[in-house]
Symmetry: D2
Subunit: 343 residues, 4 copies
């Protein structure tokens, strides 16, 4: 019998997977999670593989085996696997009756074409794409609660969409104007694999732009803000710090507004959503305010003309940008308070 609170957590060796493990280990509604990795190095328990989890992570560790996961009672699977692995794994688990929260990009797009274009991989499971829900709880809580397949959003995309969607829905973005999204992320967002450009000495006391006009989070931003491609410029930068994304977003307003009006629009949009915090007009969030949390903090500054708006959106790329948001989605699927285990 599948129990939704009983978990299979797949892929915990990367930074996202490890953060996910840390959150789930102290989540009050989680029952007997089993952790799966490609190579257990002959360890039987999570704390043997990650000694810093001793006293906290005495949970079973297994070699990744689809048949073993299916044979277990687990009702929900978290996949912190690369998209090329998730593409095959998720459908098999769904067909075996499990719910799946996938943290990769594999199921984020309704159109198989979009995935193929940006990820350079064929995605044969077009039927599952249509059933997958984009797991941004502040926008799609209802659909998430009744879905069996959640595509957890990209970290940059979460930061930008949460900042722009309220403005777009309220018709505040001047028609024809470009929106510039200048985004900066800490190095844990680049993954854990050893790479020359992620060596400490290459990142420390450095700052750089990367993936201009080609970042894979672009189509998510377009799809969920409703803005056309030629009106969004999205850039990504690497910060010399471990965790966090700060996006500085430049918007031309369709009409003159006051700071209070802008604040009211954001507050109304996120009323009742505890994980997005709107900063009062005149104050701005910083990365430290959200590190190690599941919050997305949004502040803004309006120029004296009342038409040029800068929105600042901050989150922890491993928290609200990945593992925390995955758990928030899981909570919604379970029908429990969305903050559970996230404070």
């Amino acid at each position: 019998m599948r129990n939704p609170e009983q978990l299979a957590v797949v892929g915990v060796t990367g930074y996202t997977g490890f953060e996910l493990a840390r959150i789930l280990l102290r989540h009050p509604a989680v029952k007997s999670p089993v952790f799966y990795v490609r190579d257990t190095q002959n360890k039987n328990c999570l704390a043997e593989l990650f000694p810093q989890l001793r006293g906290v992570g005495e949970a079973p560790l297994r070699s990744l085996s689809l048949s073993e996961i299916i044979a277990s009672n687990a009702g929900t699977a978290f996949l912190a696997t690369p998209h090329e692995v998730s593409v095959g794994l998720a459908p098999a688990l769904l067909e075996a009756g499990m719910r799946v929260v996938d943290l990769s990009g594999a199921f984020r797009f309704r159109s198989a074409n979009t995935f193929a274009t940006w990820y350079k991989l064929p995605t044969p499971h077009a039927d599952w794409l249509s059933k997958a829900i984009y797991g941004l709880p502040e926008l799609y809580a209802g659909e998430i609660a009744s879905s069996r397949l959640i595509a957890n959003p990209g970290c940059y995309a979460t930061s930008v969409i949460l900042a722009l969607r309220p403005l777009a829905e309220a018709g505040l973005i001047a028609g024809g104007s470009s929106v510039v999204c200048d985004c900066k992320s800490g190095a844990s967002g680049a993954g854990k694999d050893p790479r020359r450009d992620l060596h400490f000495v290459e990142v420390d006391e450095n700052f750089k732009v990367y993936n201009l006009f080609s970042h894979r989070h672009t189509p998510e931003i377009l799809e969920h803000t409703g803005l056309p491609e030629d009106r969004v410029i999205f850039s990504t930068h690497l910060l010399p710090l471990a965790r966090g994304i700060l996006s500085t977003i430049y918007v031309t307003l369709s009409a003159v507004h006051s700071g209070n009006e802008i604040e009211a629009i954001f507050r109304k949009f996120y009323a009742g959503r505890s994980m997005v915090r709107i900063w009062p007009a005149g104050s701005l969030p910083e990365l430290q305010h959200v590190a190690h949390t599941n919050f997305c903090d949004i502040g803004f500054c309006l120029d004296s003309s009342g038409k040029r708006l800068i929105v600042v959106s901050c989150l922890d790329n491993l928290g609200k940008g990945a593992a925390g948001q995955a758990v928030q989605n899981f909570n919604l699927m379970l029908g429990i308070e969305e903050r559970t285990g996230l404070q």
Copy 2:
């Protein structure tokens, strides 16, 4: 008799002044520099005040005294003093027959009004303002060579103007379009005075926006790019590193261009100017490439439409953004190679 190679260097306790001292101590054309600080703490030599200069900085240290500087033979004074000090000091030294390179904002604007508006201080020496030359050698080398008062540019302004001026002069910026300048600086740019928000723990693993729509370098950017205020958005961010400014600048082009055309425009503009390095189309500079140098590195990326351009401009805020540029200006005033002492 005043000797232009004989120097009075005023204000070497801040980060900019200290960097200036370091460069001048090994500058081959500098003769017997004397260093002045507000409080010598009873030390007679620079290396006594800064023990890390032992073996390098055995140069005389004096209490700041206008009459003593005037009584010396020094032909050139560098002022690394706050603008409220420079406002009074520079004219007195000029009238005594010295040349002055002022690193503050006091003499950067032709209009006394601009200074008063942005710096909240009256500036009674309007006559000197008209004689001061904005010390950006790549734009004004001729005027600098024949001037006696150089207003050394702001660090952010240098970074942005060098990136935009070639495009503006070539008429490449679409009429009516906004130019977004998203700039990020290391913490040495904020000065050395102890401040709660510059405590290590507040900056480390943090990133934030500051001074939106109110940064004092704004009027320099407008004046030297020729763009009107309502078409430039300039934002500043604090990076968790010591040195460097990277500006990401978003430009809508007036017509479709190729990367090679853009590169050619930059190369032509900076032909013969060794301190600005243009990166080949498709490659981009990083902060580490310019740290501890006097280079400003400029790269760019054009989207597939050929109309949206992102320019990346990097420099060391203490080098090309302050002390290095001051020495480059000094070299031009002396009539020697502008790189002297800067490599």
Copy 3:
């Protein structure tokens, strides 16, 4: 009526006080904490003063007033105040029937002389000194549970004492030999007040020794390891990071031992104490393993002679080194599981 679970938390503007607030805000046994600071800046709630606590810290904020605290129902007071404030505050609160956990150095020594010698302040409350318990739960859990005044240990002292006490009690330290304790701490341990030497640029990419032969944690180490002053050398260094202490401790053993024997001695000493984690012979803890936790991790390495031992002890200076340990003490006073609220 005083209720021990009802709290007055005094001094939450420093790093330690803020960490304490964060822990207590989610502590399941804490009832209606009230936070006191010297200057509320006209704010009524913690989250107004610290916007990053919005949604988490909607607890009352008050100006520090002894009479108001006494008039409240609070049964326990946490003092994250400087020792010169705690010296007066703690006795007044104790006499009003409250329990006190003091995080300063004011009550850490049985002898008023020791305090006066190291802290350069008279300590008139010698009677309270004799009643204060040194709040190191792994050594004095019983006394802590029945005490009304806890002197929370110094961060360095906690790190060193936990590493040495098991060896000292087991008679393993060679008679007459010196023990070298080379300790390194992150910058949050130096306090939050703006200081020139704690400016980001002074700490970043730097490392230095400080307070050689004069650090105030020295007498705590001597008193609780039982080693005489001339046999302990204790040095402190400033790391370019925010949180954590790693102590490298060099011990000459009184006889040849194997790694397994050393490990067994540590394990036996800390049996049943969940907040000290002993690393298996041949592995060593790192700072990241304990950051943001209340663990003290201890590992060691023995040379091939079996007589030279290096012990490595790691903790978070704001966690087990200060606020976390204060809460652990509070839990023991309440008679609840010592880990409550600390995971």
Copy 4:
């Protein structure tokens, strides 16, 4: 005809080799250096491979070829190659009439056994070992000047030997006492190859011990301080910064001394040696003081008994700890001022 000022510089892709290239490119006595790397990636000039050297490093780049180097006129070769490469390369170049400065560990020991024991490699060229001079200019300037093969010392070894040798020669170290050398290094010392434990996220905000009782610099320290193995404890730690080594060294003195006496001993030993700077009694060097320099700064603190001494030794591991020292050796071989090109 071989010209000693004409150079072959082999292996410039690592951090040490790159620093060496940077120094040599502006060295006034160096004539037409040619740079050799394993893989030129079809580039013909150094600045093409390292774009940050544009305008500075327009020097020829070649694929490493022994015959090509031999066929050139180069009189001196710098080898910034791994020891297993240097073992073969150096003898071939020496036999072809060149001088060699080898930065690896291959020729640092007089005994082939020592090399084989610590480096786990056979070293067949025992005849060359006897001709190699350990390139620590402050100890062996005379031998260096007349040698054709210089074994450039290890970075940690340089830091420790320079601190201990004056004390050892003066008979100040108490007979039978242990000397503890607690050393901390920045991450550039660990090399540039991508490694999981050198990923930015693993080093940032972390600090750890490594290679206890097994570091390869141990035998250098023993050989050049003259202390027996059982009296030296040498530990190494990884700092979250790029450049620099700080060693904290604990010495028990053979007799009571004053700070002035200790300072005098150091000053006398290093009289006339400009690259070692002795700090006045009561002051201590920090890593920032030596970063990007070729200095080794030495300070100390004596306890009130006058018998316990802590020596603090700082250098830049890429400067005096590697590339800078290699150039200092080269200068001595050329017979020019040892500081040439190093300021």
